[in-house]
């Protein structure tokens, strides 16, 4: 692909391509997916999404497959887009670098005096527990369907991962002096 961009800074492109390969949608819907179901993988705001969709359309990897009310346009992936996505998944070297502010915060917990430390862990525990519960509910909803949902495996992974985090935070809380 010649239309600009680095080799390793292209994750948004493939996130969009992939999300639209699973299910066509508008830019607005994609922004919502980045806020919820995709939030543990990638985030992008609408101001980044719309220009990227335009570029991908121009490159022939996406196309407008429908128009709705408020001049909304639904995008879908093209055959060329599917080939590009497949090549990326199978052929390209994965970029394993991550950016996760929460992990930085947890890494630095040990610097805090016990009172601050306990307060921070309790806040983290509230947030992660809420996140975990949301995933458990999502998993139950998907299990209630009669067909296998494509998101089910990833939700399962996220449930287990967040369970590990809840357990770890509880242990850190117990190990902090002055905890009940």
């Amino acid at each position: 692909m010649s239309i600009l961009s680095y080799d390793r800074g292209v994750s948004l492109r493939y996130a969009l391509l992939g999300m639209l390969a699973v299910q066509p949608g508008t830019g607005y819907e994609l922004a919502q997916r980045f806020d919820s179901s995709m939030s543990n993988a990638w985030y992008a705001s609408h101001s980044q999404i719309y220009p990227e969709l335009a570029k991908l359309c121009e490159a022939g990897l996406l196309e407008v497959v429908g128009q709705g009310p408020r001049r909304s346009r639904t995008f879908g992936i093209t055959e060329e887009g599917r080939r590009e996505l497949r090549d990326w998944l199978v052929e390209s070297e994965p970029n394993r670098s991550q950016r996760n502010e929460t992990t930085i915060r947890w890494f630095l917990l040990e610097l805090l005096p016990p009172d601050d430390r306990r307060a921070v862990i309790e806040r983290e525990l509230r947030d992660v527990t809420e996140y975990h519960q949301g995933l458990v509910n999502a998993a139950e909803s998907l299990d209630a369907l009669e067909h296998d949902h494509p998101f089910r495996p990833m939700v399962g992974l996220a449930v287990r991962t967040s369970q590990v985090m809840v357990d770890w935070l509880n242990e850190q809380l117990e190990a902090t002096p002055g905890s009940p």
Copy 2:
């Protein structure tokens, strides 16, 4: 803090401040830590690190605490830096958004035909297993010390998380048609 930057794009700043609060170091060493022990939390290249260290020094949050061979300078956190770091950890609203290309790739596995899918899962499994084994070894090294190491809790979390990932990938592999 008035010295420029967004509210939510400041994670590098606090990652550096925190790493130097745990242990003073040079810019070069910090770049190495981002490549290894901090790689599951944040990544930054030296070209981003050096200017940021200069800014933090100018702001009085860091100071040069030693000079080595090849005109290397060791930075340490100041009292003001510790206060700033503590305030960030305790008072500021955490940014929960993540960027993790690997999760995008795993999310999109279901789009691939079985042969491609199996090949990709096997590659991921190799990479994650290697990563997991590295963490297990690191944990054993830390356990061999007579004192508690500050990184031990985070390594423990990473060990469990990567174990969950290895298990999940193995399940996905088994569930793919044509697998042994």
